[in-house]
């Protein structure tokens, strides 16, 4: 079943247009990785889905309903949660409060404080600390846990690995299957192609605001992915990024 159906999506900031006629489908239960170079429009795409950036043209059907005009705070109740780039935890709140506030507009579901802590046990001893004293990896775990607290049907992960040590990234990515098992469909944006291909059931590559490639990781040649990533002629990308 298609959970998210994006058609002809245009979006941008002021005079700058970041996305041009994006068509993307996401099926319920799958993990879709969106890859692309810096400035390709990946983060903008997630921000449009979360309601932080307005749609200029096109439609966003979520479970059959066009949500293009729905405000960001109402999309959470529909089942869309964004883990923003840079984590964006609330600095004046403790870790516990950051997690609890994630449930402000929660849908019914399996995720609660206990189940989130089961997936991210490293948070457990940190619950009463201010969030701004946490390490980057700890903050990212809290940010993902905070999004899970709303019991999302679609969780949008923006650059989970950004600025984190490889060992921390590895542990965070090991937790991703638990998100799908918990009933969430995952759409992750990642510059690290290796990480993305390892966990995704499908990949979409963006290049300068347009979809340049789409397919299943096992069916795509590495050279094609690299070519789509950098905008090279098909088959020209023998060395890949990430």
């Amino acid at each position: 079943m298609t959970l998210l159906e994006v058609r002809g999506l245009d979006a941008g900031y002021g005079d700058f247009q970041a996305l041009f006629g994006i068509d993307v489908d996401v099926s319920e239960g799958e993990t879709l990785a969106m890859i692309g170079a810096n400035g390709a429009g990946k983060t903008t795409f997630l921000r449009v889905l979360a309601g932080q950036v307005p749609t200029r043209a096109g439609s966003i059907l979520f479970d059959g309903t066009d949500i293009a005009g729905v405000k960001a705070h109402r999309r959470v109740g529909l089942g869309i949660a964004l883990v923003p780039e840079g984590r964006m935890l609330f600095g004046s709140l403790t870790v516990r409060e950051n997690l609890i506030i994630g449930a402000h507009a929660a849908r019914p579901g399996r995720w609660n404080l206990d189940s989130v802590l089961d997936v991210f046990p490293l948070i457990r001893p940190l619950m009463d600390r201010p969030s701004h004293v946490l390490s980057g990896g700890e903050q990212q775990a809290v940010a993902i846990g905070r999004a899970l607290m709303s019991n999302p049907r679609l969780i949008l992960l923006d650059e989970v690995s950004l600025g984190l040590a490889p060992v921390v990234v590895k542990s965070l990515y090991e937790a991703l299957p638990a998100l799908s098992e918990g009933g969430a469909t995952v759409l992750l944006v990642e510059q690290d192609i290796g990480q993305a291909l390892a966990v995704a059931s499908r990949v979409v590559c963006l290049l300068e605001g347009r979809v340049s490639l789409e397919g299943r990781p096992g069916e795509l040649a590495r050279s094609d992915i690299t070519a789509a990533y950098f905008g090279l002629p098909a088959g020209a990308g023998s060395e890949g990024p990430g």
Binding site: G51, A72, H73, G77, L82, F90, S92, L93, I101, R146
Partner: protein, 292 residues
């Protein structure tokens, strides 16, 4: 002993300053909103109490049961219908709009109540006091004002630190865009905060009206004291607001005593100087949050 008495009376006066400053501090803390009509709203609250007491024959203290909900609803509606459209990274629109609102309130009050000074009569308690010793007596009204100020600020602190509403206030204050990703309707939350700010400034206005006479044009002076208390204590800090109010009150009365003893300066002047010193040396206030 006169100096000790001045300090005691200053603490009592500081309760009123802290009450004035509470709403200003909350509005700034939650939404970085500077309300230049704050003093006029206090006077408006006092005049609403005049109407309520004369129409219903209520004691001014009891009139708060009517005045506070009316002002709370007005604050909520005004934020939703007007102030929300001025909130942006640029503080100028909100400053201009609230400046205009202050002028409108003053003129509406002049048209409705005339320029005559008014007062709120609570009976003999106005002049009754608790005598500590030969030199120090604490008036019941100033004492009640201080107790109410501590109760209001304490309740606000409890709301902010222990309730879902307070968590949402703090989250929106930190980062409204990310708060929306939690399902928080920041615009509605701003209206709730402004409703609470109006309610607290109405309480301050009623206590001002009980303590002294007031007129339609007295708002800007009250705004100045509220600003000074908030800046001294720390913008957005609940307990800082109380500390700022008390210090400002003590500065006023000790300055007044200085004038009596040596014929120099005046109470308000010492308060203003304290405000300037804090602003120059610690712009975030004594208990204010570090600037981001």
């Amino acid at each position: 002993m006169e100096w000790l008495n001045a300090v005691v009376q200053g603490i009592m006066l500081g309760g009123l300053f802290a009450l004035f400053a509470t709403g200003l501090s909350l509005a700034f803390g939650v939404m970085r909103f500077v309300n230049l009509a704050h003093g006029d709203l206090a006077i408006l609250g006092a005049f609403v109490a005049v109407s309520v007491t004369s129409a219903l024959g209520l004691n001014p203290f009891v009139s708060l049961v009517v005045v506070v909900p009316v002002m709370l609803a007005a604050g909520y509606a005004l934020q939703l219908g007007a102030f929300n459209f001025t909130i942006s990274a640029d503080p100028l629109p909100s400053i201009l709009v609230t400046f205009g609102l202050g002028v409108v309130i003053q003129n509406v009050l002049l048209e409705t109540y005339s320029a005559d000074s008014r007062g709120l009569d609570v009976g003999s308690i106005e002049i009754e006091s608790i005598r500590i010793n030969d030199a120090i007596a604490v008036g019941w009204i100033p004492l009640i004002t201080l107790v109410v100020a501590v109760a209001v600020l304490g309740t606000l602190q409890l709301i902010l630190s222990r309730t879902a509403l307070g968590r949402a206030f703090r989250a929106v204050s930190d980062d409204p865009a990310t708060a929306r990703l939690m399902g928080i309707n920041d615009r509605n939350l701003y209206a709730v905060a402004m409703g609470i700010a109006f309610a607290t400034v109405a309480i301050a206005g009623v206590f001002l009206g009980i303590r002294q006479s007031f007129g339609p044009l007295d708002g800007p002076a009250q705004l100045l004291y509220a600003f000074e208390a908030v800046v001294i204590g720390g913008l957005g800090s609940v307990w800082g607001t109380l500390v700022g109010g008390l210090l400002l009150g003590v500065a006023h009365t000790v300055g007044g005593q200085f004038e009596v003893a040596y014929g120099l300066g005046s109470g308000p002047l010492v308060g203003h100087l304290m405000f300037l010193v804090v602003l120059a040396t610690k712009p975030t206030g004594l208990l204010g949050r570090r600037a981001e």
